[in-house]
C-alpha cells in the first residue's frame, strides 16, 4: 500500500480522496458518538440548530463586527510595528525596538486593566488592547525577518553606492515588503484567537466573542460548537486570502 509508506508521493486526486475520506470519517464518528440521549458533546443536529439560531440573531452582523475590529487592529498594529522594526537597524533606537518585543511576555489581564483606566469607550478599549498585544508579536516577527536578510544583500547595495538610509530603504523596506504580509498572515491566528477573547472580556458592539460568551452563559453547547466552526472557517479563509494577496501583488515573492 503506497499510501501507508512514509515520504511516498501521491497524486492530487488521491490526496483529495484521502482528505475527503477523513472528513467523512470525522462526521460519522461525530454522529455515532452523539447519537444517544446522554452525551457531553453536542450532536450535528444540535450544531445545525445552533447555526440557524445564530443566523436569526444576526450572525452576519456579528461576523462583520469582529472582522472590522480585526482589520482595524491589524492595520494600526502593523503601522506601529513597522516603525519599531525599521528603527531596529539604527543603533540609537535599537534598544527601544527590542524592549517592545519583550512585552509579549506580559500577562493579558494585567495590561487590559490599565487600558481600561485610560480608554473609556468599550470599542476603543478592544482596539487598543489588541493593538498593544499585536504590536509586540508583529515587531518580534518583523525584526526576525530583518535579522534573516543575508549579509550579501547589504553588501550588494553598498557596492552600488547606496548610502546607509538607501540600504535600509532598498534592502529592508522595499526588499522585504512581501514578508510584511507573510508576517501578518503568520500572526493572524493569534490575532483571531485574541480578538474573540477580547470581545468576550470587553463587551462592546457584539462580535463572535460576545456570542460565545452569551452562549456559554446558557450552556448552549450546540451554539458554541457552531460558533467555533464559524471562527475556524473565517480564520482559514483570511489566511488563504492574505497568502493569495501576497502572491498576486509580488511576483518575485517566493517564501
Amino acid at each position: 500500500m503506497k499510501i501507508l509508506k512514509p515520504f511516498q508521493k501521491v497524486s492530487k486526486s488521491k490526496r483529495l480522496l484521502i482528505m475527503g475520506s477523513w472528513l467523512v470519517f470525522l462526521i460519522l464518528l461525530w454522529t455515532i458518538t452523539t447519537a444517544g440521549d446522554k452525551h457531553i458533546f453536542p450532536s450535528p443536529k444540535n450544531v445545525m440548530i445552533g447555526f440557524s439560531e445564530l443566523y436569526k440573531e444576526g450572525l452576519v452582523t456579528h461576523i462583520f463586527s469582529s472582522l472590522s475590529l480585526c482589520f482595524l487592529s491589524i492595520l494600526l498594529a502593523t503601522i506601529i510595528s513597522l516603525i519599531f522594526a525599521y528603527s531596529w537597524p539604527i543603533p540609537l533606537l535599537k534598544p527601544v525596538s527590542e524592549f517592545v518585543t519583550k512585552f509579549r511576555f506580559l500577562p493579558f489581564t494585567g495590561l487590559s486593566f490599565f487600558i481600561t483606566m485610560v480608554v473609556q469607550d468599550a470599542r476603543n478599549m478592544q482596539v487598543w488592547i489588541l493593538v498593544i498585544f499585536l504590536t509586540t508579536f508583529l515587531t518580534t516577527s518583523l525584526i526576525a525577518v530583518i535579522k534573516d536578510i543575508p549579509q550579501e544583500e547589504f553588501d550588494h547595495a553598498k557596492t552600488l553606492k547606496c548610502n546607509r538610509f538607501e540600504v535600509l530603504w532598498q534592502v529592508v523596506i522595499l526588499g522585504r515588503i512581501d514578508y510584511v504580509i507573510d508576517v501578518i498572515r503568520q500572526n493572524l491566528a493569534i490575532t483571531w484567537m485574541m480578538l474573540v477573547t477580547v470581545e468576550s472580556i470587553v463587551a462592546a458592539s457584539g462580535g463572535l466573542g460576545f456570542l460565545i460568551k452569551n452562549s456559554d452563559k446558557f450552556m448552549n453547547h450546540g451554539r458554541i460548537i457552531a460558533l467555533q466552526i464559524i471562527i475556524l472557517v473565517i480564520g482559514l479563509g483570511l489566511d488563504w486570502f492574505i497568502n493569495f494577496l501576497r502572491k498576486a501583488l509580488f511576483r518575485y515573492s517566493k517564501i
Binding site: P150, H156, K158, T159, Y252
Partner: protein, 276 residues
C-alpha cells in the same frame, strides 16, 4: 608577445585585515598597471587570486571593495575623473564592483529596473540611460528577460545581470568571487564569454576573480596571486598573505592558446598552494 606597462590601475600597500583584533590577512602589497599591446585596442587586465579555503581571499576582496576597512595599509585605484597622469584615490564603497558567488541582486527589481538603478548616479539623460541599458542587454543576450525578476532567471542570466549592474556603477573595476564555482561545462563557457565581453566593454576594465580552478586561472588571467599561510623561520603562520605571484605576460603564458606550458605552470601553482 610585445607589450608595455602604462598607468597604475591598482596599488595595494601593506594591507592587513583583522576581525575583533585577530589578523586574518597581512602584508598584502601589489601593483597592477594597464598594458598596451600593438594592434590590440583593449588594455584591460584580468587578475586571479587563488589559494586554499580559509586563507583570507574573501577578506582581501571585501577590503578591496571598501566593504571592510583595512586594519592597516592602503588601497588606491586610478582616479578616472582626474585628468592628471597617474591620479589615484583611496578605494571606497562602490568604487569597485563586486559580484558574489550567489550573484546577489535586488529581489524586488526586474533586470531593467536593476540596471536603471545602477545608473542613477551618472550624468546621463533618461534617453541615454535607456539606450545604454538596451545596448548592454542586447550585447549580453538579456533583452527578452528585461522584465523578469531575479527569481525568474537562470544562474547564468543572474550572473550576467549582476556583472552589468556593477559595471554601470563602479569605476571600471570589477571583482568576481568564485564565478566558476558549481557550474557545468556549458555555464563555464558562458562565464568565459562574459570575461571577453567585460574586456571589450572598456579599455581600462580590470577584472579580479577568485577561483579554485587553477586551469581556468591560468587560461584567463594575466596575473595570478597565490594567497596562503607564509612560512617564516620554518614556522607556518596563521594569517593569509601573497605567497607567490605569477606574471603570465612576463613568462609568455598570457594571450596564448592553452598548451603544455600552461599545464606545467598549473602544476607549479598547485605545488605552491599545497605548501601554504
Amino acid at each position: 608577445m610585445e607589450f608595455e606597462f602604462k598607468e597604475t590601475l591598482l596599488y595595494i600597500d601593506g594591507v592587513s585585515v583583522a576581525y575583533d583584533g585577530v589578523v586574518v590577512v597581512k602584508d598584502i602589497s601589489l601593483i597592477e598597471k594597464n598594458v598596451v599591446r600593438p594592434n590590440i585596442e583593449s588594455t584591460s587586465q584580468v587578475i586571479a587570486l587563488i589559494g586554499r579555503s580559509g586563507r583570507g581571499k574573501s577578506s582581501i576582496l571585501k577590503a578591496l571593495t571598501g566593504l571592510i576597512e583595512p586594519h592597516s595599509g592602503k588601497i588606491l585605484i586610478k582616479d578616472f575623473k582626474n585628468k592628471e597622469h597617474d591620479a589615484a584615490k583611496v578605494v571606497s564603497e562602490g568604487d569597485i564592483g563586486f559580484v558574489d558567488q550567489k550573484y546577489t541582486l535586488f529581489r524586488h527589481k526586474t533586470i531593467y529596473q536593476t540596471l536603471k538603478f545602477a545608473l542613477r548616479k551618472t550624468d546621463l539623460t533618461a534617453a541615454e540611460k535607456k539606450a545604454k541599458i538596451d545596448s548592454y542587454l542586447e550585447q549580453w543576450g538579456l533583452t527578452e528577460f528585461k522584465d523578469k525578476y531575479p527569481n525568474e532567471l537562470s544562474g547564468g542570466q543572474r550572473q550576467r545581470t549582476a556583472i552589468i549592474e556593477q559595471l554601470f556603477c563602479s569605476d571600471k573595476f570589477i571583482i568576481l568571487d568564485e564565478p566558476f564555482s558549481g557550474l557545468d561545462v556549458g555555464n563555464i563557457e558562458e562565464v568565459k564569454k562574459s570575461f571577453e565581453l567585460l574586456n571589450n566593454s572598456s579599455e581600462f576594465n580590470t577584472v579580479i576573480f577568485t577561483t579554485h580552478d587553477i586551469d581556468l586561472a591560468v587560461e584567463l588571467a594575466q596575473s595570478i596571486y597565490v594567497i596562503g599561510y607564509p612560512t617564516i623561520n620554518g614556522e607556518k603562520q596563521s594569517y593569509g598573505t601573497i605567497v607567490a605571484k605569477y606574471d603570465l605576460r612576463d613568462s609568455g603564458h598570457a594571450w596564448r592558446e592553452y598548451c603544455d606550458d600552461h599545464r606545467e605552470l598549473c602544476k607549479e601553482i598547485i605545488h605552491k598552494m599545497m605548501m601554504s
